[in-house]
């Protein structure tokens, strides 16, 4: 198929940036979206132009490196997948596709479609861990039984890949879904309870400091999340936060 692409080009953080139009031809429907981008970049190199910079790595939907706002949706029109898993059969011959970076104050553009997600790192460093040193003598893994329900809910929250689609989809650029996933994972496990109060307070404080917006419960983040992280996590984080504030 033949497509028209309108892609955001921006040389660096200080550059203003603009949409630039490209044409690609003979695109196979079996290609992944990023393979289509590879084809475009190869043609740009052949013409001595600078290829389009975009983040990607594992190309199997788990590393969280790839981003891209495609036709106004994070990770494109398909559900439950990342951009690298999106295939060209989702599009039709003759389509025009708009490709932009994540848009959020806390995610400044580095170049073209690549944004700086260090804000997520700093939030995790503020409390996204259990304070346990490496030790050959921790208690046996089966010493504390954990109900299957809580273990599974914890796993569902832990499935977050930290890509930032929740922020990109939110009209407030809120990071609540991301932060609540980590808070929930630990709050649901006995090992995480000891530090639960400090964790939620510190992570939320850092989130606010980074300039993410507030949650107004529109639920776009849950719809666009490639890993199906549930809004219930935000409710759980709010309960944890309230609990921590009262104690």
């Amino acid at each position: 198929m033949n497509l028209t692409l309108k892609i955001w080009r921006q040389k660096g953080p200080q550059d203003k940036g603009q949409m630039v139009e490209y044409k690609v031809t003979d695109i196979s429907e079996h290609m992944s979206f990023l393979e289509m981008m590879d084809v475009l970049n190869e043609s740009l190199v052949a013409k001595n132009e600078v290829p389009i910079a975009f983040d990607h790595d594992c190309r199997e939907g788990i590393c969280g490196m790839c981003s891209l706002h495609i036709n106004g949706e994070p990770h494109g029109p398909d559900r439950g997948i990342t951009t690298c898993q999106l295939h060209m059969r989702t599009f039709k011959d003759g389509d025009t596709i708009y490709i932009e970076p994540w848009r959020a104050k806390a995610f400044p553009v580095i170049k073209d479609l690549i944004v700086d997600r260090m804000a997520f790192e700093r939030i995790q460093q503020a409390g996204g861990y259990i304070s346990v040193n490496t030790s050959g003598n921790t208690q046996d893994a089966n010493a504390i039984p954990i109900s299957k329900i809580n273990a599974d809910l914890s796993m569902d929250a832990a499935a977050c890949i930290g890509c930032g689609a929740c922020v990109a989809s939110c009209k407030n650029s809120s990071a609540m879904l991301f932060v609540s996933a980590k808070v929930s994972q630990f709050a649901l496990l006995p090992q995480g309870k000891v530090e639960a109060a400090d964790r939620v307070k510190n992570m939320v404080a850092q989130m606010d400091l980074e300039g993410f917006g507030n949650c107004s419960n529109t639920g776009a983040c849950e719809v666009e999340c490639p890993k199906g992280i549930s809004l219930e996590n935000i409710a759980r984080m709010n309960r944890e936060y309230l609990k921590a504030s009262i104690i």
Partner: protein, 667 residues
Amino acid sequence: MTTLNSRVPQGPIKDKWTTYKDNINLVNPANKRNIDIIVVGTGLAGGSAAASLAELGYNVKAFAYQDSPRRAHSIAAQGGINAAKNYQNDGDSDYRLFYDTVKGGDYRSREANVHRLAEVSGAIIDQCVAQGVPFARDYGGLLDNRSFGGVLVSRTFYAKGQTGQQLLLGCYSAMNRQIARGKIEMFNRHEMLDVVKIDGKARGIIARDLVSGEIERHSAHAVVIATGGYGNVYFLSTNAMGSNATAAWKIHKKGAYFANPCFTQIHPTCIPRSGDYQSKLTLMSESLRNDGRIWVPAKIEDAKSIQKGNLKPTQIAEEDRDYYLERRYPAFGNLVPRDVASRAAKERCDAGYGVNATGEAVYLDFAAAIFRYGSEQAKIKGMDNASKEEIIKLGEAVIEEKYGNLFQMYEKIVDDNPYKTPMMIYPATHYTMGGVWVDYNLMTTVEGLYCIGEANFSDHGANRLGASALMQGLADGYFVLPYTIGDYLANDIRTGKIATDSPEFDAAEKEIKDKLAFFINNKGTHSVDYFHKKLGLVMWNKVGMARNEKHLKEAIKEIQEIREDFWKNVKVPGDLNELNPELEKAGRVADFLELGELFAKDALERNESCGGHFREEYITEDGEAKRDDENYAYVAAWEYTGKPSEAILHKEELEFKDIELKTRSYK
């Protein structure tokens, strides 16, 4: 010339590690504060090492080319992690895990290292649970296990189909705690481009800030390389796009021997290639072989019709199907080790029985499992007169619960419903058992330079068993390196800060800057990928699943030609001082073009078939791999002397005192 000394402690194998730990030198806590360690790579091995070393009190500098340590390719491991916990009471023990790993590795690994791995395996699970890793549990709240290829017990712990992700997030969280305390200085979007040696010891690295393009000098008392395997030498593999061998290859060129490069694992269950634009291959977890049956048509005319698209797999009668793994290996059936399963698939496809348009695919069929589970469910639900459709519906629900995410992934990529029609799979490069040679302390042949995880060679011999890579990465990082590195650093407590304005740093930096400038100024005719794809094709066709002398010699010559062409005609757009992915790739491919040749040379030199290394000249009468323990029970450690073709071979003879050398049989 460096001599090879594996430094394996004396004494009975089960006491070696304990006795050794009791007697090595320690660094007192106050002195640890004066010692710097560089860790390159932040996957399971590097991440766990960085966190553990920082907890001990060392000053750690960690480097990752991604924007976060959480994105290292360990994250893509699906199936699980082995540990000899014996929670299932099925007869597991440290010895059995040790035995299975040595046997699975086709007797080409170092016994003492493997036993230590088995000994610390249980502590890994304890540690991960304490960190909040949400492993799968049963209804009683205790940890659940599954079974993997090549073993007869259930010792694999898992977190849905995302075990690697959860384990990596565990050590990432441990790292974050140390980053917050200032004990780890994290360098995201940085790539190591060389190691710096002073007086024969590793004392620092040269790294490039991938955002600004700036070349930086970093010094330390010891350097740890944890940068994973070199599977991308094939261009197409299940590795991440950025996975590369540059750090490992650069230290090889500075004196670290490279061991057994020809031991590479081709994983049997990957989604087949669909076209020339293909950028990578996707793995389907080995756990699918618990329930999927692998087959090709028994009649060649059926195979031809399928390849032309005139026949569907569901139209082929049961008696016209060849379940070749069950036929050839009745004891292990579809759960034979990876190398055996991959070769068997290639054998059928080479004989013309492959099932997609390219003839390079076999079926992985769940119809039998769906019917079996469905019948069981119908019985449980008391549906005595259930129709076939009802049974299938019930069975599909069971399969969905077990493998739903994998089936969804397959459907998204291939656009075919694997519940209704068999999956198509084909082998793909997945893991490299070979790597940088290390002694018992995980130190390379360069003093103060360590190598851990997939990047080293030590534990998996010629073939790795499923769910053992995660175990090895975490064992090295959490429980081995933190002890052994102290023994070396105990002599460095009075050294003080290492300066970066020395002639050695000047020289290393100049070399890197010149090479990068060459790429930008060359103005050649072909992109980096053009050369990488050419190399990959030679590697796959001539140094792939089956190798022979003629092809290997041709491959060496062809790789040399591609390399020559690359240095004349490569084109890298953009600038030095900016984010430039083409420039990053150019450096990596330059190193693959050298590594590929050594790989072929190593394969040519090893005149036997073992594990992932299959030489067509060395086979038994029934077509199985024929090992030669008399002449090849050694580790081939290569010393760099200026060109891959002139590398010097050093042999570490392997001694098997605790396990009898036997022909591996899965029949």
